[in-house]
Symmetry: C2
Subunit: 350 residues, 2 copies
DNA sequence: TTGAAAGCGCTAACAG
DNA sequence: CTGTTAGCGCTTTCAA
């Protein structure tokens, strides 16, 4: 016991709950209770312990907490951290987590089901208290399995699962807003850039947006004028879309790109051919990512209020962790943001 | 036990290393050694244990590992997950982490020193094996303290600390590339948009880029033509910059925005006044974020190869965790990417 | 209201 | 080369 070394400023070990308890002259069990705001501690003890925690600069060791109870950490799985929309979600999430003493950690899961599954498992292995999965590519069955182990809120996918909470924008409505806008402008033949899917999965936003597009066209008696371009929702996919449209016999006068990123790829490709929207054709995106508002871009798009989505997801997750039993599904109302890439159809010289 | 009930989703408890050991008929210590690829296990045992791990779908519990040894997780602190450049870094990082069995978790630390410090502490509390701090706003003293507890690689800040590794672009050179390019185009009076700092901190990229700008101007005998505009590196700061430049008696014919995000703000503001680059003045950014390459934007900028930065940072961190003692500092060579926002000066009608 | 003590799943001495 | 055993820092019965 060479503990009599007092005076050395170089304290290298961090304080544990045992140190706190000793410093406050109480048992570790009591210190733990104070730490967790648990039931049954006198105010006097609470104060004393908290003072000791401050004095020792005590910070609980999360893995240790995780061994028995909670880690007070929630994990968020995204495909890629570079998505302006995800960032808005993270912001909203953070805003509800901050006041609670929960903390957020983000895992970039990549773009395929296998690597996303791995990312999710890693989050579980870390003993997170709950998970936010943003537009996950995993199968419903996997989702079910995961939600058996840990509270899960899915963002972006339209699930009605009884074991998973969800928050998403009303993509059906969003598509209708775009079509209504384009039709009001005078367009009749309208294209939709679809995100190619191996298997049609009705719960994914791309499916809902496509369905919404087709339905809205039908409501305008324009089913015959709906043209679906099948590529990928990405910069490169947008470029492909332009080429595919160019190859069409009867091209549309307006195109709903399905996602901002696709619209940006299209704008880039058009630009390289010395063309632009809305001159070549009107163009609308979806997401209202920050880039869409930059002057020279000025993309007409649909805003889904990522911040609100994230905040709602956070609230749902906290409720779930707190013990709510039944699943809760939120559908948020999107809004159309009209900018400069949509205009009445250009009369074509024949 | 109603375990024979075919419909019930079976296992609810996950396998532990004890289960694996029992299943393989060995001690937990041996199972642990196999798990860690540790020294001194016969091939026969290794095989048997690995088979058991597969059979039981064993996945190590990270908090438990963290209690005694490593968590095999590295944490990355960024201000905001929505930064295209950070995403490139994360990609590069992931590419070197994947083959090792390390995993990456990202913490959005926000835009002030206090919240970043908190994020860093949280990462430490999670018992991460190492930290990547991207352009951290924390003080050198705090950095020193942190690096005493855990291996740290700083990305983006030019530190020469003996206890912290670092990887950054050669911002001094980057600035010179831009100035050389603009001067070669025929510009003489050139502006630099500075990121306002409360205290001048020479290690921060903004300081180095400013210094590099001034030095390059001096080398061209153009010190008198260097005009520094003091705002913030953000979309809004870019807008301010345009207004500040408009108020100048003798405005520059070219502006180096210091960062892409600032240049984008400037483009937006110019656009709203029906102006654009390079007509109003030539404009260059820094970072080569993905948006910069979008056709209608076409921003001339400096590429720092985020992927390479991230990969290098990952390698350094792994080495450090592996036991390397002395600090290592990498300076990566940036490259100029010329696009459409820079051109020879427009002759002004007087 | 408080405290003693038994683990959580894993790793790291140390024996055999 | 393999096994036994003692914790890591915390939470949680269960007594006092």
């Amino acid at each position: 016991m060479t503990d009599t070394d007092g005076g050395r400023p170089a304290r290298t070990k961090r304080a544990t709950i045992v140190d706190v308890a000793r410093h406050a002259g109480v048992s570790t069990a009591s210190a733990s209770k104070v730490l967790r705001n648990a039931y049954g501690v006198s105010d006097a003890m609470k104060e004393r312990v908290q003072a000791s925690m401050e004095a020792l600069e005590y910070r609980p060791h999360r893995p240790a907490r995780g061994m028995r109870g909670r880690t007070y950490t929630v994990g968020m799985m995204v495909s890629d951290i570079d998505n302006p929309y995800f960032s808005l979600i993270a912001d909203g999430l953070a805003s509800v987590l901050r006041p609670s003493d929960y903390e957020l950690l983000v895992s970039p899961g990549g773009y395929d089901a296998a690597s996303q599954n791995q990312a999710i498992e890693a989050l579980i292995d870390h003993q997170m208290d709950g998970l936010i999965l943003v537009a996950p590519l995993v199968s419903p069955a996997d989702l079910e399995r995961v939600s058996g182990e840990i509270p899960v809120v899915v963002v972006g996918s339209h699930t009605a699962s009884p074991s998973v909470d969800s928050v998403s924008g009303d993509d059906q409505l969003g598509s209708r807003l775009v079509v209504d806008h384009l039709v009001a402008l005078g367009h009749r033949r309208i294209g939709f850039v679809a995100n190619h899917q191996v298997a049609a999965e009705s719960h994914r936003p791309e499916s809902v947006r496509l369905a919404g597009f087709l339905e809205a066209m039908a409501q305008h008696d324009l089913s015959d004028e709906a043209v679906v371009i099948d590529t990928q929702w990405s910069l490169e996919g947008g470029r492909d879309a332009v080429r595919l449209i160019d190859a069409l016999d009867n091209p549309p006068s307006a195109v709903f790109a399905g996602a901002d990123i696709t619209a940006l790829g299209m704008m880039s490709e058009l630009w390289e051919g010395s063309r632009s929207a809305p001159d070549a054709y009107s163009l609308a995106g979806y997401d209202n990512s920050r880039i869409a508002s930059i002057g020279p871009i000025g993309l007409t798009t649909v805003d889904q209020s990522g911040h609100e989505v994230g905040a709602s997801a956070g609230r749902l997750l906290l409720e779930r962790i707190g013990g709510r039993g039944e699943a809760s599904h939120l559908l948020l109302r999107p809004e159309l943001v009209v900018r400069t890439t949509t205009a009445p159809p250009t009369p074509r010289a024949l």
